[in-house]
Amino acid sequence: GLYFPQSEYVETVYVGQLAGTPILQVHAMLDSDSERPRFYLCGINSLRRPAHSSWFNLDVNTGILSLNKTLEESDFAMLNRHSWPVKKLVLHAMVLPNLTKKSQCIKHSPRVTLDFVNASLPHCAQTDMKELCFSHRDTAIPHIMENRFPGALRQLRRLTRLHVCPNYTISYHVESDTPAPFAVDENTTELVVTAALDREESERYRLLLVCTVRTETLITKVETSLDVFVNDEDDNAPYVNGTDTADIIISFNRTKGGSFGTLFIFDRDLTPIFPIDQTHNRYVGTLLNKDPWIKETFDIKGSFSEMKAALGGIRETVHVYQLVLKRNLYVTENRTLQLDYLVNDITYPGLEGTVSLHFNVTILPVHMRFANITHMFTLTRRASLYAQVGRVCVENCQQFDGFRVTYRLELPDKNASADVQSCYSAISITQAEDEMWGLLYVNDTEALRRPECQDLQYLVVAQEEHTLLEASTQIHIILDAQANKASQGSQQSLSCAENRQRGDCESVRGLGATTGRCQWRQVTEKGISENYSTCSPDLRTCPDSFCDAVESKDSSICPQDCTKKSVIGGHERGLRNGIQAGHGTCYCISEKCFCEKEDVEEVICDD
């Protein structure tokens, strides 16, 4: 409907100005040819209209605000008790397409702020040319809706100064670097937009307003710039620039929430992200497929962002659409389908406000199989409890997402003798919640060291948890030479991490030690380093800032990766637990870890 191009009007009024004196003129732009704007003063909120509003009159047809009474000193004093020489009067105006008695303001009613000065209007001699030409504090920037009717948007003449210098002639004209459909109506001195505007062509016009003041002896030109913004409306249909079809293959990653494929829809109109419930350029999407399986399995996720057009840098919108899985897919799922998605720009009035997008989806089954190789692992009989032997993984397991594969060990020959079967307790397999591979580790050192337990062969069975699909493979663990008697002593295995020096570390057995002995890592850098010195059961897996499935079986295996307790000394914590970086040597005593420079001997307090 009718709208005000400005949300704020500012002017100054003086004691002594007479009833009928024009103050300023508000303007409304037409929304349709038949509209006739009716202007009214109104009350912004629930209060009785302020006393001073009765001093003013707003002409219902012209929008000219003028004085209803002569402004007196008493009016100024009565306003309020402050002693400021200038008091601010605030009014509000509204425009309706018909006559009304309503006094409550409607939405978007501009504010009129009048500075009431406790002095009389300056005479011509005291009036500067600038004051004569332009209302001094009117910095409001007009906003004009695109595609609308030409019309006056602003009174350039300073109405309060109309009769201050009667023998001056004042005229206005407008200039602009780039062609702009604006002119000045010489009779009414109103700035007029002469044609419907198109925001998609220009969002803003930078005008130069020139006021010419002619006296008998002098011609003075006063210029000032005025920006006019063009407001957007949904007058452009969505379009695809490039393809409207995405070919998608879903194989290993079939997890709920996974997103696939990306299609773009462009729109030369703006799409504000605030306020959210804005009804401007709103897109609604509809999945056209009726198949319930598709509706339960897939969704389309849309998002949009603002971008600048290559040509002219005009703001526009790009919408991005992706296919999203609403649930995990079983490994056996194997089908091809086409999704059709209709996007509708519901605020675009024209017919072509819709665009169809197509997602050609191929869902491949996941084959559970092990690589066709013989899995060989070597292991020393001196290995400690929890020593990691190696990993087993079905093909492509690293890319699996959305389903879980568990691993177990079985004897290749179920009717082997009890003695032979007892050897097989030597090795076990485990797996972390979020890991797709199995970790082989030493589970029984006694069995490992028994001479009769020669090379061990296991059957690894991998099973998918929903479909119970299985795959298996043979693994072969080759044990090195006889475990010598010395190392078989019942030396109590302790946490490698407790050792603070290379000598102690490499001479001691520790939980998880693959070689049977702990391994020392020496830092070279100064300060707090990720390669801190430490004693580890196996430098390949500890410390690596990751508390894996075997390490989490016992806090003494690799506290450097798994400790949740506080760390003393200069350090940086790992993302979830453990020590990411440490100063000097890091060592741990029952999960409490310390990082410090190591060249010290124990000092007793012998004061």
Binding site: S566, G570, E572, H583, G584, C595, E596, C605, D607
Partner: protein, 102 residues
């Protein structure tokens, strides 16, 4: 010169100078405990001193024991946070003493 008794002392130094490995030019007031605890010794301490000198050796023991109460913090300042020279924040606990005792 009578040995100073166990008390709280302070020293202004940079975080880097704390020797914890952090690289930061921020300054901190390090409070620590130093001084003698002689007046808090018990018969136990006199005996321990004797045992450390000769007693344990005679009994074939190599234990190391403290022959007197230590001047130690009885409470720490809970935490100290600072920005290091790579613009990363760190918070360290119990680095400065709040009060001392034997």
């Amino acid at each position: 010169r009578r040995p100073k008794p166990c008390s709280l002392r302070q020293l202004e130094l940079t975080v880097s100078e704390l020797g914890l490995g952090y690289d930061s030019d921020e300054t901190v007031l390090l409070r620590y405990c130093s001084g003698k605890c002689t007046s808090h010794r018990e018969n136990y301490d006199i005996t321990m001193e004797h045992m450390m000198r000769t007693g344990f050796r005679k009994k074939g023991r190599k234990d190391k024991v403290s022959n007197g109460p230590c001047c130690r913090p009885t409470a720490f300042e809970k935490e100290f946070s600072f920005l290091d020279n790579n613009s990363r924040y760190h918070t360290i606990q119990n680095v400065s003493a709040k009060n001392c005792g034997c």
